[in-house]
């Protein structure tokens, strides 16, 4: 029964992805300026014959619905066109940058969770204590602070003033690292390259904090409020009455049930991690997908922008799908 529900939920994402593709296509066509003209602007002078040839090559001489058909057909094959500027398949460019972005997103998520869980749990257990008030004030600040500014303040304090951590990039120039997965932390562990691991981690800390702070704040707040609820539930009272040790009551009985709303919220934060990476990668010169998109926008490299936006949207949809499926395992009462 569950397998069928999961399959249904997976199938339901297909029309959404189609819709996303169509919407991106429409936006592309609404853009002022002919793609070939923009390409010419980037590529130098060419003859009229060549322009006609390019128009035919990109199917721009066909009616719009035929163009849409070509676009969807190619997109389904994973072909989202070539970059105007770099003259290479957009998917190739995106694939090159993806590991950096994934590493940063995982770093931010890791930071967010190791901060949010102890704070969320302790604030609920010691409700209204100074710890609770202080952390909730901090969480409030975390929600109200733009990531780009937090990044800059972190650089000012830890890189400029204290000189503890590097300002920019993923790894120092003088460090050699053999790439396997593209995630530098993982690669350096796999190749037992400890100096590279230390260097990669040092570069990862500040961007992860800048990107993860808002997520940490939101998760801590939700975890606290759901813990407050479960700590008052009958089954917790019962567990206490049975004489279960307090840490077991909190962690096994209360926390487990408080996880359900928390996991949903963490899933929703994937969007924050994806959107925020454009900002944070810009602040820290992090060579990921976010930088690629921002640069593509300023170069008017529309195929690249289009492809990246679609990749982002698909990642987001798939992340939400995974959360929905995880959810059924955490809470058997819920059907998709």
């Amino acid at each position: 029964m569950r397998a069928i529900k999961v399959l249904e939920r997976i199938l339901a994402t297909i029309p959404i992805m189609f819709g996303v593709a169509i919407m991106v296509f429409i936006f592309m066509r609404l853009t002022p300026g002919d793609p070939v003209d923009i390409m010419m602007g980037a590529g130098g002078a060419v003859g009229a014959g060549e322009i006609e040839q390019l128009r035919a090559e990109f199917h721009l001489d066909e009616p719009i619905h035929i163009q849409l058909w070509y676009f969807l057909r190619d997109a389904a094959r994973g072909d989202l066109g070539n970059s105007y500027i770099k003259k290479r398949p957009t998917m190739e460019l995106i694939a090159e940058r993806l590991p950096a972005t994934i590493e940063l997103a995982l770093g931010a998520l890791f930071f967010a969770l190791i901060i949010a869980f102890p704070i969320g749990i302790l604030s609920a257990v010691k409700q209204n204590s100074w710890l609770d008030r202080f952390s909730m004030a901090g969480a409030f600040l975390g929600i109200s602070m733009p990531a780009f500014w937090l990044g800059i303040v972190l650089i000012l304090i830890f890189s400029v003033k204290l000189r503890w951590l590097p300002v920019q990039g993923r790894i120092s120039y003088d460090v050699n690292l053999q790439e396997i997965t593209g995630l530098y932390v993982v690669d350096s562990i796999l190749t037992r390259n400890w100096p590279a691991l230390k260097d990669a981690l040092r570069h990862l800390i500040l961007p992860s904090i800048a990107l993860g702070a808002a997520v940490a704040a939101i998760v801590a707040r939700v975890l606290r409020s759901s813990m407050l609820e479960t700590l008052r539930a009958d089954y917790v009272t019962l567990a206490r009455a049975k004489g279960a040790p307090e840490h077991r009551v909190v962690l096994r009985h209360a926390l487990r049930n408080a996880l359900i709303p928390t996991v949903t919220v963490i899933g929703l934060q994937v969007g924050v991690l994806l959107g925020g990476n454009m900002i944070v990668e810009t602040v820290f010169g992090w060579p990921g997908l976010g930088r690629l998109v921002v640069d593509a926008i300023f170069n008017r490299d529309f195929p690249l922008v289009q492809a990246s936006v679609m990749v982002y949207a698909f990642t987001f949809v798939i992340a939400n799908l995974i959360v929905d499926i995880l959810y059924t395992y955490l809470n058997p009462k819920i059907t998709l």
Binding site: I16, M17, G19, V20, M23, V24, F27, M28, L30, T31, P32, F140, L141, I143, S144, M145, P146, A147, F148, W149, I152, V153, I155, L156, V160, V167, V222, V270, G271, V272, L274, G275, G276, M278, I279, T282, V283, V293, V294, A296, I297, F298, F302, V305, V309, Y312, A313, F316, V317
Partner: protein, 311 residues
């Protein structure tokens, strides 16, 4: 409340009804004010928001410097408490010798305007579509709900960045980019509430007494939903301001030389080693305003929406 016998002439009747309504509003207001008093932080936040608004409105009157024109002689003056700083430029100057405090005060105009208009349009669109979809259901509801689901497939900032990339920068495009997806949350809130309220007895009573559908929606149901909408609108305002600042930071929002906090922070990035104040203070202005709006919104929610429908 003492009940006076309902007057018979239509004019007197209308006046009587307005009197009742007025007295109810006054009672609700004093009840509201009384409740708000239990949230001192929210009141402080409201005062802070008011200060920002006043600063934005009276910017030319409270500043002496030009927000867009600087002077090469006054580049990178530090804040007044630092060595070399002067009280002429309280928070220092930027790379073009412009007074940062002046630019922050003018920048409040952009942030507040974008926040209010983006949220306002989102509410208007979301409320209208949500009320119609929730009340009438049917094909209209299906279509709009699908469109909303589709928009939810994009993370907010990425969607806004994508729209700005295609439309190009500018104030109008900025509002469009923010509201294009911003209405969805209001739509979902109002639609859900509409569906819940529709089945209640007072709606049935209004229907039986021969009230038209539009009147039932606007005069009976909406007043019961408005408080939740208002709370959500306040909480979204801070978010929209951060989004605008983020877009301006990337260079996709408000274009220079118009002072906007996001682009001011961006302009100081190249001088972090030598002039930390250029980026820091505009960012503080954002944090202050958004923090105040969020605190006010939370207080408002505790008072107006105790069922905590909005998270």
């Amino acid at each position: 409340m003492t009940t006076t016998p309902a007057p018979t002439s239509s004019w007197a009747r209308a006046r009587h009804l307005w009197g009742l309504r007025w007295r109810m509003m006054r009672r609700n207001w004093s009840e509201f004010a009384h409740q708000m008093r239990k949230h001192p932080l929210a009141i402080i936040a409201a005062v802070v928001i008011l200060l920002y608004i006043l600063a934005a409105i009276f910017a030319p009157a409270i500043t002496v410097h030009d927000p867009t024109r600087g002077s090469l002689r006054t580049r990178f003056e530090p804040p007044f408490w630092m060595e070399g700083g002067s009280t002429e430029f309280l928070l220092g100057t930027d790379d073009q010798g412009r007074d940062i405090l002046t630019r922050i005060i003018y920048g409040a105009r952009v942030s507040l305007l974008v926040g209010v208009i983006a949220v306002g349009v989102s509410v208007l669109v979301g409320l209208t579509l949500g009320a119609l979809a929730g009340f009438y259901r049917g094909r209209f509801d299906t279509i709009v709900s699908r469109a909303a689901d589709l928009l939810l497939a994009f993370p907010f900032l990425i969607f806004a960045i994508g729209v700005m990339a295609f439309l190009g920068p500018g104030f109008g495009n900025l509002i469009l980019a923010l509201t294009f997806k911003g209405w969805v949350e209001f739509f979902r809130l109002v639609r859900g509430e509409m569906m819940a309220e529709k089945t209640k007895e007072y709606v049935e009573a209004a229907r039986v007494s021969g009230m038209g559908k539009v009147a039932i929606i606007t005069r009976e149901i909406l007043p019961n939903i408005m408080q939740a909408v208002f709370v959500l609108a306040t909480l979204r305002m801070g978010y929209m301001i951060i989004m605008e600042a983020s877009l301006s930071f990337l260079g996709l929002g408000i274009q220079p030389p118009t002072p906007a906090w996001g682009s001011m922070v961006a302009s100081g990035r190249d001088y972090l080693l030598t002039a930390w104040w250029v980026s820091t203070f505009p960012g503080l202005a954002i944090v202050g305003l958004v923090l105040a709006i969020n605190l006010f919104g939370e207080g408002l929610r505790d008072v107006l929406d105790p069922r905590l429908k909005i998270e």
